[in-house]
Symmetry: C2
Subunit: 129 residues, 2 copies
DNA sequence: CTACGAACTAGACCCGGCTCTAGGTCAAGA
DNA sequence: TCTTGACCTAGAGCCGGGTCTAGTTCGTAG
């Protein structure tokens, strides 16, 4: 299956601009090949790869690190340990992020509870009047 | 207890620059009062407030929204419903973020597992030789 | 033909959130 | 007295991550 940049944009949710930007940043496992008129032709694998990159970005992996990982994959077999290192390191960061986020959530939930109680008590008084 | 900007920086983890920046952005519940020589004098309440703001920032609340919330608090009683709205909205965003983060985590964990298996199988072969 | 839509490149621009600089005040200690 | 260090203001600069523009080139449809 051959996909144009527009189609890839649709199915990844990235903008056409962002796709070209990612390519320039070296974030494509197997560089996009070009069709007639120099147009980019993507495959399903490209889309799959992009979806993974989107996950990595969403979870806060910086573009340069995604590039490092991508380069390892491009180089092919033999560097699996390095790839594993990158992934594990990121996994740890994500774990920490989740812990932090949970702490924030706890505080917010506590505050929401307080305000709800307060607002309800006001409403109750109003009814009592 | 009176605190200098430097002391507040220490106990919040924010930089002195960031503290002045936050103040300029209107993110201080009760505006910092000034001591001799125009120096900022913070109280424990300021520190507590800042700690909450840090939680809100960490969980992705944009500065302008923290300002809105701060302004409501500054205005005093009577707008608790609006404050509650802001908090609930943010709570929902944080919830979504956590879901996303968990999805990313699942993918990463899956990949880490794959690579570990692979790396181990290689190691086993090496031993077998 | 021509005109539209989708693609191309290179590079400028934007935004949020700080961070840093320049130039100055002030108080305490050597 | 001089120096040091913490503070002050206003405003410039930086970084990450895109986003947008200008000026073209295609291929297809009217």
């Amino acid at each position: 299956m051959q996909l144009s940049i527009g189609q890839v944009a649709e199915r990844t949710g990235l903008s056409v601009h962002a796709l070209r930007f990612y390519e320039k940043e070296g974030i494509l496992a197997h560089q996009v090949h070009r069709g007639p008129g120099g147009r980019r032709v993507y495959t399903q694998q490209d889309v799959d790869w992009l979806r993974m990159c989107i996950m990595l970005r969403m979870s806060g992996m910086p573009v340069p690190e995604i590039r490092r990982y991508t380069e390892l994959v491009r180089q092919g077999d033999g560097n699996e340990l390095q790839r594993l290192d990158i992934l594990k390191e990121h996994q740890e960061r994500v774990r920490q992020q989740m812990v932090q986020l949970q702490e924030c959530m706890d505080l917010i939930t506590y505050k929401v509870g307080k305000y709800e109680d307060y607002v309800n008590s006001i409403a109750a008084k109003a009814v009592g009047q």
